[in-house]
């Protein structure tokens, strides 16, 4: 199964949650962590694999829309639940400030200051974000067969 986590910030907080899901901790070893160009390019990035579940991340200001689009594409193409990408829209506490800092990172001259702030903020919140990912794994992956609806763990947005 392929899982796409969508948060307001991709290579910052959402990456950390994905690492928690994958039971990893070293966010600094990911070359694209805190990379503004990658964040702006809005490409889907593969973070890793856990028990046959490939985990991807991307950022969007309204994560629920990505879930809706993916559902529409899969329905139109006749993909079943197992074949299609499972999109988990995330609502992470404190993510709005990170998102704002990343937006300010595009400013000339002062931008780098905000970018470093955003990276430090994610690193400082790492234990919290990893825990969210681990909770998500427990509630989503382990119970995926019986899952009727997602339990708010990393606070996925309910449809």
């Amino acid at each position: 199964m392929k899982i796409l986590m969508v948060g307001k910030t991709g290579v910052f907080d959402t990456l950390a949650v994905a690492l928690g899901y994958l039971n990893q901790t070293d966010i600094a070893c990911y070359s694209y962590f805190g990379d503004l160009a990658t964040e702006k390019a809005r490409r889907i990035l593969e973070v890793g694999e856990e028990q046959g579940h490939k985990v991807f991340i991307v950022n969007h200001k309204n994560p629920r829309i990505i879930m809706e689009i993916n559902h529409e594409l899969a329905t139109l193409s006749g993909l079943g639940e197992q074949e299609s990408l499972q999109v988990i829209p995330l609502s992470i506490a404190g993510e709005n400030l990170s998102w704002l800092l990343i937006k300010l990172a595009s400013l000339p001259l002062l931008g780098k200051l905000f970018l470093n702030w955003a990276k430090r903020r994610t690193q400082n919140r790492l234990p919290f974000l990893l825990k969210l990912g681990q909770d998500l794994y427990r509630n989503y992956a382990v119970n995926s067969r019986e899952r009727k609806e997602m339990i708010a763990a990393a606070k996925p947005i309910h449809k």
């Binding site: 392929k2 796409l4 702006k40 390019a41 809005r42 490409r43 889907i44 991807f56 991307v58 969007h60 200001k61 309204n62 629920r64 829309i65 990505i66 879930m67 809706e68 689009i69 993916n70 529409e72 594409l73 899969a74 139109l76 193409s77 993909l79 074949e83 299609s84 990408l85």
Partner: protein, 114 residues
């Protein structure tokens, strides 16, 4: 004005594919609102990961959405003032219509426009 969804969509329609019609080659044409003008890479990746790249061509209309169209659309849909917004939408659309039509050339030639 005769199009089924013309100036009638709501916030709930974002992310939903709306069938507009079929072209001369038999391709189904859908419209999609995304609340974002930089979603080309993401949409292509979504299709690619699921092995659907050969089924979809995504074309961004954002470069041709002019200021009149934006203001008119906001007045009509977000501010719920269609009597003010719709004339602006029509005016803006008339201005950008030739460029929007010219977009069709690229995907038919086999490329992907995003």
């Amino acid at each position: 004005m005769a199009m089924p969804y013309f100036d009638k969509t709501s916030a709930e329609d974002f992310g939903k594919l709306k069938l507009v019609g079929t072209d001369d080659y038999g391709n189904e044409i859908y419209s999609l609102g995304t609340q974002d003008n930089n979603l080309g890479n993401l949409l292509e990746d979504l299709a690619s990961i699921q092995g659907l790249s050969d089924q979809y061509v995504f074309i961004s209309t954002s470069p041709y959405i002019n200021m009149i169209l934006r203001i008119g659309g906001w007045l009509s849909r977000s501010a719920s003032l269609p009597f003010l917004g719709r004339p602006l939408v029509i005016k803006g659309l008339r201005q950008s219509f030739p460029q929007l039509c010219s977009l069709l050339g690229s995907p038919m030639a086999g490329g992907t426009v995003s």
